[in-house]
Symmetry: C2
């Protein structure tokens, strides 16, 4: 089905395109481009890149996992995410007898962080023996994903250090929690580094197991896309076996151009522009099968939501929205 | 983790309970009970019950599938949901060699409905040969789930018929689309039956494959919980391998009492109270680990959402909210 918006009024506002070539220069001048997101960079991220593994069941394939792992710099397991990683790799080892490396020893994260109420003792022991830094942060006022994100940002902010920034920031061993105060030290460290050097380059963080497991955890993941300034406009991407999910920030002064190459275009399927959290207005889209102009979108009673839409332009689409929105893009990873 | 709300202000508004016995009589008089949802009835639904299978990958076990199938009256596949059913049963047949019945012939739906752009021809042929009614509805102004729901309601409204209501309403065969006008006849039929008999008893519909697959489809499923009067307060339940998801309607005149028995209580895990459509206020909860009073909840920037909460009362909880909310309850189906 190509169109699931629900009221006839809605459809009257949309423009059906079979082919609509869009370049940045084509955007009307009253809708300037405030942001450019390059979706072709998913497997070619900047130096400030990380993978965060959350504590829900793995749904991606081993092939996709290794492709992300090999391309992203910093590897963090959020608390019980370490159990999931260990069990995922063990299962893969058992089904693929031709592998002669020990996968759990090959794919070691840099950090495990969280309140550690979910991390299994035997898995903590394994990673501890393999020099993975396990940092406890007891506070219940922030989620394990926020703790992981602040660890990433602290690392990114210290990249200018001549030595390995990981060793510079996190000194000591597990007995002193790697020098991080036990309650909420990682948040204090992040604020300290932000104050010292309050501009840092665009980062790109891929989060797996964040969407598609327990539903309250899915919504908590989406909450992070809205709630953290550094998570917007594709700086935090949730990857599932079916799609890519990220936020597009609402701007007073223009929209967002999502740039992609022909490989990305060939592999992407349906997309959704999702006003999760509150109703808003999409001022303009260009390059979609069902483009809209000044279109109110609302998940609530009587509202309309653009799902099962798709890209018709082969190099990018433009979205100008009043408030932050969530974008999902179906993707064929194989 | 028991608590992932994010601001200290939030936690100050919550009341931590270790045990908080709640009965309907315990609810303060200024918060009357406007609705009662009996969660123990998941496998013991009323006569007006149905299962709808959507076109995303099955994530529930065969055991859970059969338990739902055997207890729910009407069985509907939404378009390509029929492919998923056929393939799920074929796979199960192949891995469980001890089964001597042909599963795809045992678990035949009553209907397949949709625009039929996803239904595979060979699967349409199979079901057609096995007397499944395949109804085409071409309109793109409503989703396949809405088409399925209107089919359910039309059936429920006709239950008072002395003969089999399915045969009364849907006369003819596939060559005349079972008497249903091709474009949007099911919506016309539903309206006609509603006008003839505009009260119908509480129904209970379980929808599988609606949440957890493609993310825009997940949000489209949630949209249905808000958008359809008959889908609220547990009348439409999405079931995943991890949880149960439904809506709780906001009321001006009181809250909702979610009743359950000890079996349900023992099997449920974490829960979430999720303001997916728009920010709102939870006036009062009773019986949760983290109860709240006059608590603003918002998925957006700076807001708080109650996730990883859980039931501490063993027979029910009370929620009084200003606007409709989505509730998710983790459930151990094994």
């Amino acid at each position: 089905m190509s169109y699931t918006n629900k009221s006839e009024e809605t459809k009257n506002l949309t423009i059906e395109n079979d082919k609509d070539v869009v370049h940045i220069d084509d955007i009307p001048q009253n809708h300037p481009t405030a942001e450019i997101i390059n979706l072709s960079n998913i497997f070619n991220p900047p130096e400030t890149s990380a993978i965060i593994i959350l504590n829900q069941e793995f749904d991606i394939t081993f092939k996709l996992f290794t492709k992300i792992w090999e391309n992203y710099k910093l590897k963090i397991c959020a608390d019980g995410g370490a159990n999931r990683l260990f069990e995922f790799l063990t299962k893969e080892q058992n089904i693929t007898t031709s592998i002669d490396t020990v996968l759990v020893e090959k794919y070691l994260p840099n950090f495990i962080i969280g309140d550690l109420d979910s991390l299994k003792p035997e898995i903590a022991d394994f990673y501890s023996r393999h020099k993975v830094k396990i940092i406890q942060q007891k506070t219940q006022y922030s989620s394990d994903l926020t703790k992981s994100l602040h660890l990433c940002y602290t690392y990114f902010l210290s990249l200018s250090s001549k030595d390995d920034p990981l060793d510079q920031i996190f000194q000591g061993d597990r007995s002193n929690n790697y020098g991080v105060e036990l309650e909420k030290g990682i948040h204090t460290l992040f604020k300290k580094h932000m104050n010292q050097n309050n501009i840092f380059s665009r980062c790109q963080i891929v989060c797996i197991n964040g969407i598609g497991g327990r539903f309250d955890q899915t919504i908590q993941s989406i909450h992070h896309l809205y709630d953290n300034y550094h998570c917007k406009n594709g700086e935090l991407l949730f990857i599932t076996k079916a799609d890519i999910i990220f936020s597009i920030a609402g701007h007073d002064d223009g929209g967002c151009f999502l740039q992609y190459d022909s490989t990305f275009f060939q592999n992407c399927g349906s997309c959704g522009i999702l006003p999760i959290g509150k109703p808003t207005t999409i001022n303009l889209t260009k390059g979609l099968k069902w483009d809209v102009v000044n279109w109110d979108t609302d998940i609530g009673t009587g509202g309309s939501v653009s799902t099962s839409n798709y890209f018709v332009n082969d190099c990018g689409i433009y979205i100008d929205c009043k408030d932050d929105l969530i974008m999902s893009i179906e993707y064929n990873w194989s």
